[in-house]
C-alpha cells in the first residue's frame, strides 16, 4: 500500500468496464484518482511566474512529451505577458495612482484579463488533450501560483471495483 496515494473524498467508484475516456464528464464519474504530479516553479529568471518544462517521469506512459511541453510553454508565455513591464503597465500604474487606485473598482487589471485567458486555455486543453488520456490539469492560481497540479486518473476494470459504494477518505493500492 503506497502511503502517498489518496482518494479525494466524494468520488463514487462504480463498476466499470475498461474503456477509453472521452470527456471530462466521464473522467469525473467513472475514474479514480491514482496520483498527482506537481510541476514546480522555475526561478532561474527571477521572481516572474514560470514553470519548469522538465517532463515528469510519472507522465511518461500517459502523454507525449511535446504536448506537455507545449502546454507549459504556452502557460509561461501567458504569465510573461501578464507580468510584462512596459508602456502599458506604466500607463495603467500611473493612471491608477492618479485616481487613488479607485479606478480598479470599475476596470479590470491586465493581469486579471490574462488570468481569464489562462483559465479558458486550461479548460480547453483539459477537454481536448488531457481528459482523453485520463489526466486533469489544475489552474495554478488555485494552488497559489506555486505548482501546476496534474491529476492522474485510472479507470478501474470491472474486476477490481466494488459496486455502488462511496469512499470517504482512505488509501488505495495501485
Amino acid at each position: 500500500l503506497s502511503p502517498y496515494i489518496t482518494i479525494m473524498p466524494y468520488i463514487t467508484i462504480m463498476p466499470y468496464c475498461h474503456h477509453h475516456f472521452h470527456n471530462l464528464q466521464e473522467l469525473r464519474h467513472s475514474a479514480s484518482l491514482a496520483n498527482k504530479v506537481f510541476i514546480q516553479r522555475d526561478y532561474s529568471e527571477g521572481t516572474t511566474c514560470r514553470f519548469q518544462t522538465k517532463f515528469p517521469s510519472e507522465l511518461e506512459s500517459r502523454i507525449e512529451r511535446t504536448l506537455f511541453e507545449d502546454t507549459v510553454k504556452t502557460l509561461n508565455n501567458y504569465y510573461a505577458e501578464a507580468e510584462k513591464i512596459g508602456g502599458q503597465s506604466y500607463l495603467e500604474g500611473c493612471l491608477a495612482c492618479a485616481t487613488a487606485y479607485l479606478i480598479f473598482l470599475c476596470m479590470e487589471t491586465r493581469y486579471e484579463k490574462v488570468l481569464k485567458k489562462i483559465a479558458k486555455y486550461i479548460q480547453e486543453q483539459n477537454e481536448k488533450v488531457y481528459a482523453p488520456r485520463g489526466l486533469l490539469v489544475t489552474d495554478p492560481i488555485d494552488r497559489g501560483m506555486r505548482v501546476i497540479e496534474i491529476s492522474i486518473y485510472e479507470d478501474r476494470g470491472s474486476s477490481g471495483s466494488s459496486s455502488g459504494s462511496s469512499s470517504v477518505s482512505g488509501s488505495t493500492a495501485r
Partner: protein, 457 residues
C-alpha cells in the same frame, strides 16, 4: 456530562429540548445549512459545537472525546473560503477585508490623521481661505482623502499571502526532499531543507517553511505575527495593521509619501497662520486667545503631532525610496542579504534607478491567490469524537474551488456521494487518527459557525 462551551452557549441537561444554534450571528449570511438524515428520536441532547473557542479549546475537545455517542446527523454547509483559512488574520465584510489580529495601533494611526486634519479644517482653513486663497483647503482635502485611501488600501488588502500546501502537495515535496537527501544514518540530524536556485548568476537559497509546508519562493518570508508566508515580504507594520508585501507595497509607499506631504503641508500652514495672526495682533496675544476663535491647546497638539510625524514618516519615506531605488525589501536590508560582502549582489536589481522605481511602483498589479470569497463545502459528519477532525480534514482535502471552470466534483453531488452509513462511519472512526490535536480540527481563527449535532438513542 460537561459539554464544550462557546461564549454564547447555554447548558442544558438531558431531557430538555436543546436550543439548536444554526450559525453565528455574524456569519448567518454566509453559511447555509442543509440537514440530511436528521434523526428525530425523542431524547435530544444539548448540541455540541465543533467550534473551539480559544479559552475552552481543551474543554470542548475533551468533551467531544467523552461524548462517543452515535448520531445520524450529517450537516453540509456552504462556507466562504476565508472562514477556513489558516493563519492569524482577521477578516471583515464577509472576506473582503483582511487584516492582522492586533489592530489597536491602526486605530491610533487613523485617529491621529483624522483628528489632526479635522482640527486643521476646523480652525485654520476658514482663516486661510479668506485671507490667502481657497485653494489651500481644497488641496488639503484632496491630500487628506488620498492619504486615507492609501492607508485603507494598505491595511485591508491581501499583502501577497501564499496559501499553505495541500496535503498531496506537501507529501510530494517531502518525497522529493527524502529522495534528494538520500539515506540519513540513524541518530544523525537530516540536512536542512534548502533548495539552491541560480538567479542572474547569483545563488539564492530557498528555505523550506515547516508551517506552510512549501519551499518559499525567493524574497518570500514567513510572518510570525500573521502566521503566513508572504511573497516579497517587506515587514509587518503595526501602524497599518497588516503585513507589507508584494501586493500592497506600492500602496504603503504612496501612503507614507502622501502622509509626509500632508504633514509638511499642515505644519507649514500652521506656522503661516500663526505668523499672519501675529502680524495682525501680536504673537503672545494670538496664543492667548480664548477657545472658540483660536485655541492654543489645539495648536500645540497639532504642532506636536506634526513635528513627530515629520521626523518619523519623512524618514521612513526616505528609507523606502532608498530601498526602491535598489529594488530591495526591508527584510533583505535588515538581514544584509545583498550587503555586498562575499561579492553577493542583488540579483533582482536592474542597476538603474528609474527601472527599479518603475518596476516596484508601476509594475503589474498582482492578483490575490487566496480566493477569500469563494465557496467551499464544509461537511460535518459526527459519528464519534474524531469525526470533527475528519470532517475538517475532508473539507481541506477537497477544496471546492470556484475558479476552475470544469470542477472535478460538482457541489450538488457531494451530499449524496458523501453520506456514510452509520456502520461505515463507525468503522471509519477506528481508522481515523485518535490522538488528533484539537488545533487541527478547527482553524485558529474562531469564526466558523457552530453547527448543531443531535444525539439519538
Amino acid at each position: 456530562m460537561s459539554l464544550g462551551q462557546g461564549p454564547r452557549s447555554r447548558r442544558s441537561s438531558r431531557g430538555r429540548i436543546p436550543h439548536v444554534r444554526l450559525g453565528n450571528r455574524r456569519h448567518r449570511r454566509s453559511g447555509e445549512l442543509d440537514c440530511i438524515g436528521l434523526c428525530t428520536n425523542l431524547q435530544h441532547r444539548r448540541a455540541e459545537t465543533p467550534r473551539l473557542h480559544k479559552t475552552n479549546k481543551k474543554n470542548s475537545w475533551h468533551a467531544r472525546r467523552r461524548a462517543r455517542t452515535m448520531s445520524a446527523v450529517m450537516v453540509t454547509r456552504k462556507v466562504r473560503k476565508w472562514e477556513k483559512l489558516p493563519g492569524k488574520n482577521t477578516f471583515c465584510c464577509d472576506g473582503r477585508v483582511m487584516m492582522a489580529r492586533q489592530k489597536g495601533v491602526f486605530y491610533l494611526t487613523l485617529f491621529l490623521i483624522v483628528g489632526t486634519c479635522s482640527l486643521f479644517f476646523a480652525f485654520e482653513c476658514p482663516y486661510l481661505a479668506v485671507h490667502l486663497s481657497p485653494a489651500i483647503p481644497f488641496f488639503a482635502v484632496l491630500l487628506f482623502l488620498f492619504v486615507i485611501a492609501m492607508l485603507l488600501r494598505t491595511s485591508f488588502s491581501d499583502p501577497g499571502v501564499l496559501p499553505r500546501a495541500l496535503p498531496e502537495e506537501a507529501t510530494f515535496i517531502e518525497m522529493e526532499i527524502e529522495a534528494a537527501n538520500g539515506n540519513v544514518p540513524a541518530g544523525q540530524r537530516p540536512p536542512p531543507r534548502i533548495r539552491n536556485v541560480q538567479i542572474n548568476n547569483q545563488i539564492v537559497k530557498l528555505k523550506y517553511c515547516y508551517t506552510c509546508k512549501i519551499f518559499r519562493p525567493p524574497r518570500a518570508s514567513h510572518c510570525s505575527i500573521c502566521d503566513n508566508c508572504v511573497d516579497r515580504f517587506d515587514h509587518h507594520c503595526p501602524w497599518v495593521g497588516n503585513c507589507v508585501g508584494k501586493r500592497n507595497y506600492r500602496y504603503f509607499y504612496m501612503f507614507t509619501l502622501s502622509l509626509s506631504l500632508l504633514t509638511i503641508y499642515i505644519f507649514t500652514f500652521n506656522i503661516v497662520h500663526v505668523v499672519m495672526r501675529s502680524v495682525d495682533g501680536g504673537f503672545l496675544n494670538t496664543l492667548k486667545e480664548t477657545p472658540g476663535t483660536y485655541p492654543f491647546l489645539f495648536f500645540f497638539f497639532k504642532v506636536l503631532v506634526c513635528f513627530f510625524t515629520l521626523w518619523s514618516v519623512v524618514g521612513l519615506t526616505g528609507f523606502h525610496t532608498y530601498l526602491i531605488s535598489l529594488n530591495q525589501t526591508t527584510n533583505e536590508d535588515i538581514k544584509g542579504s545583498w550587503s555586498g560582502k562575499n561579492r553577493v549582489q542583488n540579483p533582482y536589481s536592474h542597476k538603474n534607478f528609474m527601472k527599479n522605481c518603475c518596476e516596484v511602483l508601476c509594475g503589474p498589479t498582482y492578483p490575490s491567490v487566496l480566493d477569500r470569497r469563494g465557496m467551499t463545502q464544509e461537511d460535518l459528519t459526527v459519528s464519534s469524537a474524531s469525526a470533527a477532525p475528519s470532517s475538517s480534514s475532508s473539507s481541506n482535502a477537497a477544496p471546492q474551488t470556484t475558479k476552475t471552470t470544469a470542477p472535478l466534483i460538482p457541489n450538488e453531488h457531494t451530499p449524496d456521494d458523501a453520506r456514510p452509513s452509520i456502520a461505515a462511519s463507525a468503522e471509519n472512526s477506528d481508522s481515523s487518527k485518535e490522538g488528533f490535536p484539537p488545533k487541527r480540527s478547527s482553524p485558529a481563527r474562531v469564526t466558523s459557525p457552530r453547527v448543531a449535532l443531535i444525539k439519538c438513542i
